[in-house]
């Protein structure tokens, strides 16, 4: 259910960010609905498969999308399935998608793809422990050890949940290949992470990647919405709207961090994660 909602919402999300970014720099900008047309256009195009590739090349975009959709399906924004430990499955379904994306980029054998893959690998390694610990901390405070039993922001658990929210926010920027970590609009080989990976894919395969990319961000926005009080679908829409504003602002006025400074940036993520987990165990 959540996955379907997110699938409908994802192009609108990235389209709105693009539109708002254009408006902030006093340009006309494409309509927020442009992204749907863009995806449809990409879908109709032929795809080019580089010669010495294996089926992994095709599997990459498909698994990236399926993994992200699977992770989103486990988010109880709209009522869905829930079981003990589903947050681990959700996070690692996302990781599975990313793994195949990295393999597909390596498969084409171009230096760009390899570069993008190893950078993506580093970002993932840096962002994963913090995210996992932050979520685990939040889940420990709830009941059932499951995403559906997550506690909501209140007076007595505010510390742990605020730390978890901060950690997830940083993870969203890193995993979504957004501004301080990666510039989604750059085409400079020194700075590209995500773009370099999808460079060899075209047509429908590129459309799948684009969709998976915005879905990934909606997944983190959904996680944050679960921690906030209120009616879940409404909060989800609110969080997504807030992220549109934040991303547009960051990418208009922010600067991209140098790649070697990335560990410093993501160490905040890990720190918040560790503190959230300690807070949940020791009941700060």
């Amino acid at each position: 259910m959540t996955a379907l909602l997110a699938l409908l919402l994802a192009p609108l999300f990235s389209g709105t960010v693009k539109w708002l970014k254009a408006r902030l720099t006093h340009r006309q900008g494409p309509s927020p609905l442009m992204e749907y047309r863009n995806l449809a256009k990409l879908w109709r195009k032929v795809w080019v498969v580089p010669h010495p590739t294996t089926p992994l090349f095709l599997l990459g975009p498909i698994m990236a999308l399926l993994g992200t959709l699977g992770a989103l399906a486990l988010l109880p924004v709209l009522p869905g399935l829930a079981f003990r430990g589903d947050f681990l499955l959700a996070l690692y379904l996302l990781g599975l998608g990313r793994f195949f994306q990295m393999l597909a980029a390596l498969d084409a054998g171009s230096s760009f793809g390899a570069q993008g893959s190893y950078r993506e690998g580093v970002v993932t390694v840096l962002a994963e422990p913090g995210t996992l610990m932050a979520l685990a901390g939040a889940v420990l405070l709830g009941e059932g050890f499951s995403l559906s039993g997550l506690p909501q922001l209140g007076v007595e658990n505010s510390l742990v949940l605020l730390l978890a929210l901060a950690s997830l926010a940083l993870a969203l920027l890193a995993e979504g290949a957004r501004m301080p970590v990666d510039d989604p609009t750059t085409h400079l080989e020194l700075t590209m992470i995500h773009e370099a990976q999808v460079l060899d894919h075209s047509g429908p395969l590129l459309a799948l990647y684009e969709l998976a990319g915005s879905l990934k961000m909606l997944f983190y926005a959904g996680l944050m919405a679960l921690l906030l009080p209120g009616s879940k679908p409404l909060v989800f829409l609110g969080v997504v709207g807030a992220w549109v504003l934040v991303l547009a602002y960051l990418e208009t006025y922010g600067v991209k961090l140098r790649y070697l400074r990335l560990p410093d940036f993501l160490s905040y993520n890990t720190l918040f994660g560790v503190l959230a987990l300690l807070g949940a165990i020791w009941r700060f």
Partner: protein, 210 residues
Amino acid sequence: MALLNTLVLAILATGFLMVSRRSLDAIIRLYALQNILLALVSFALAGGEVHFIVAGLALFAVKGVLIPWYLFWLIDRLEVSHEVEGYLSVSLSLLLAGLLTALAFRVGKVFVLPEASLPQGVPVALALVLLGILSMVSRKKAISQVLGFLALENGVFLMALSESHGLPLFVELGVALDAFAAVFLAGILIFRIKGEMGHVDTARMRSLRG
């Protein structure tokens, strides 16, 4: 209560950022912000008592405006680079800061007095003291060590505020002025160091000369 919680957490966040940022300007601005947040806490705890409001205003004026302004003037006059040099990398100092904060939260509950006015402020105050000590020992430049001392002093202030419903007004004012005097003297000392040695790097001061 939610407002006070948010303020206290924001103070802790400024403490973290002061440990991890690598630009002196940013650290001084964070210090000013920390003091403004502390002043807001004392306004929020006032409950109509005048001496709280006066103490908060004095805090705001002396530590939120005067000291940061003096420090900016100082680094301008010293003509040193605005980068903070430390013995630890950013990630390592953040990790240590996290461990110290966890420790402070773990042991903080023991220190809460029964009539404390802001029980959740005590662990944060302890954490600030520890973070101040951390940034004092992990940095090379004399100015950033002064900033660590100032953060430590803020921790002590927050502790007094949250434990005992505030110190008497005169003690409060005295402490604020003391901090300013200490920073002023440290500034003179740093000028002397710069004049004698040509740098303010404590890592290079190894031998005692007569």
